[in-house]
């Protein structure tokens, strides 16, 4: 007599991936949307913060992104990666915000940063992450919203130019051009306002 033994091992239900979550949301499950928001909040906020450079504005823009996501979820084509689609939404909203902000402020702050003296610069510099954040905010003010977005995605989010091209819906060569121009403009700004870092940068191989 054959005896069948079945081992009952409790298994943890795997988390649905992004596409599955989107499908569930489309079927009217708001809790699934909450789960998706929770999953993507940190990434979306981080990208917004690095593009916009202000915590409160970045928070508002991130919330706006998720509301737009809710309203446009029907338009998502699951044959594409969800993150690419989400990043496109983030960059569109953030770039719009930056353009409006730039037209309001017209880079008022661009010349207000205290320039260190040559003597101070000669004393050498210890590169510290915290200060670099401030330096970046100052020198990136000269970039166009698109240039800054591309620079942030490439340098801080480690996205390759091919992926950035997909997100922005442009050619890879356009992304590389923007990157090149962004570096060039930032180097000029760095030279003008942070000579101590500029010396460092010019010592290296900036394209």
């Amino acid at each position: 007599m054959a005896v069948e033994l079945r081992l009952m091992i409790p298994t943890r239900q795997a988390e649905p991936d992004d596409r599955e979550l989107v499908q569930t949301i489309r079927e009217g499950d708001e809790l699934a949307f909450e789960q998706l928001v929770r999953r993507k909040t940190s990434k979306v906020y981080a990208l917004c913060y690095r593009i916009i450079g202000n915590a409160e504005d970045a928070k508002d823009i991130s919330q706006l992104v998720f509301i737009k996501l809710w309203e446009n979820l029907e338009k998502y084509d699951p044959t594409y990666a969800f993150d690419t689609w989400l990043y496109r939404m983030v960059t569109n909203v953030a770039i719009d915000f930056m353009r409006n902000k730039q037209s309001r402020e017209n880079a008022v702050n661009s010349n207000l940063r205290l320039v260190k003296t040559e003597a101070e610069a000669d004393q050498g510099v210890l590169v510290q992450r915290k200060e670099i954040e401030q330096v970046f905010e100052d020198v990136s003010a000269c970039l166009s919203p698109k240039q800054k977005t591309i620079f942030v995605m490439n340098q801080m989010d480690d996205l390759p130019s091919s992926e950035i091209a997909k997100i922005l819906g442009c050619r890879e060569s356009t992304v590389r051009n923007h990157l090149f121009n962004a570096r060039k403009s930032m180097q000029v700004q760095l030279q003008k306002r942070y000579p101590e870092y500029a010396r460092l940068w010019s010592a290296g191989s900036v394209e």
């Binding site: 708001e30 949307f33 909450e34 928001v37 929770r38 909040t41 940190s42 990434k43 906020y45 981080a46 913060y49 690095r50 915590a55 409160e56 970045a58 928070k59 991130s62 919330q63 998720f66 509301i67 809710w70 309203e71 210890l126 590169v127 510290q128 992450r129 670099i132 954040e133 970046f136 620079f151 942030v152 340098q155 801080m156 989010d157 480690d158 570096r183 870092y197 460092l200 940068w201 010019s202 010592a203 290296g204 191989s205 900036v206």
Partner: protein
């Protein structure tokens, strides 16, 4: 976890190794070292980690869901304002029925009446006692040495009505 020693031995300009970049983003002395070799990593040190919005993720998600609920309710209200297809059809049918019905009634009234009805319709009604309308002069007699009388000429030859203007400075105001 990459140690500082490993980092310095493995790091080279233009690296995209996530482990090395991860170390770079958490260690200032190694960032300083790397930035001298490859200045491009200077700004790369900023990224790499996910950030938490002010107030925390829970509060953020709560705000988003609240906004989404508000939007959903607005959509429901809007969809109630817009008539559904069956309702639109019902309204259209009612309007069409009214127009057709009205046209039929109108056409029916315009048709000539039967002869008997016509005779009845032209039968003169009993004569109503006619009241003769006459004008009564307000001032019957009036005499004044200062009065000037002007007669307004009539507009047509057959007009027998005479209009006369009396101009008198001493005429009492209540006349």
């Amino acid at each position: 976890m990459t140690s500082c020693l490993e980092f310095r031995s493995l790091f080279h300009a233009g690296t995209n190794d996530p482990a090395l970049l991860g170390h770079l983003r958490s260690c200032d002395p190694c960032l300083d070292y790397a930035a001298h070799l490859d200045p491009d990593v200077m700004f790369r040190a900023i990224g790499g980690e996910d950030l938490v919005p002010p107030g925390g993720v829970d509060a953020f998600v709560e705000d988003v869901m609240r906004a989404v609920h508000v939007r959903s309710k607005e959509d429901v209200v809007e969809s109630h304002h817009v008539l559904s297809w069956p309702r639109r059809l019902a309204v259209a049918a009612t309007i069409a029925a009214s127009v057709v019905g009205g046209t039929l009634v109108f056409e029916h009234e315009r048709q000539p009446l039967p002869a008997a009805v016509q005779v009845a319709a032209v039968t003169p009604r009993p004569a109503v006692a006619q009241v003769k309308l006459t004008t009564k002069p307000v001032v019957e007699t009036y005499s004044s040495a200062n009065a000037t009388i002007v007669e307004v000429p009539s507009e047509s030859a057959g007009d027998t009505t005479k209009i006369v203007m009396v101009i008198d400075d001493k005429l009492p105001a209540d006349l």
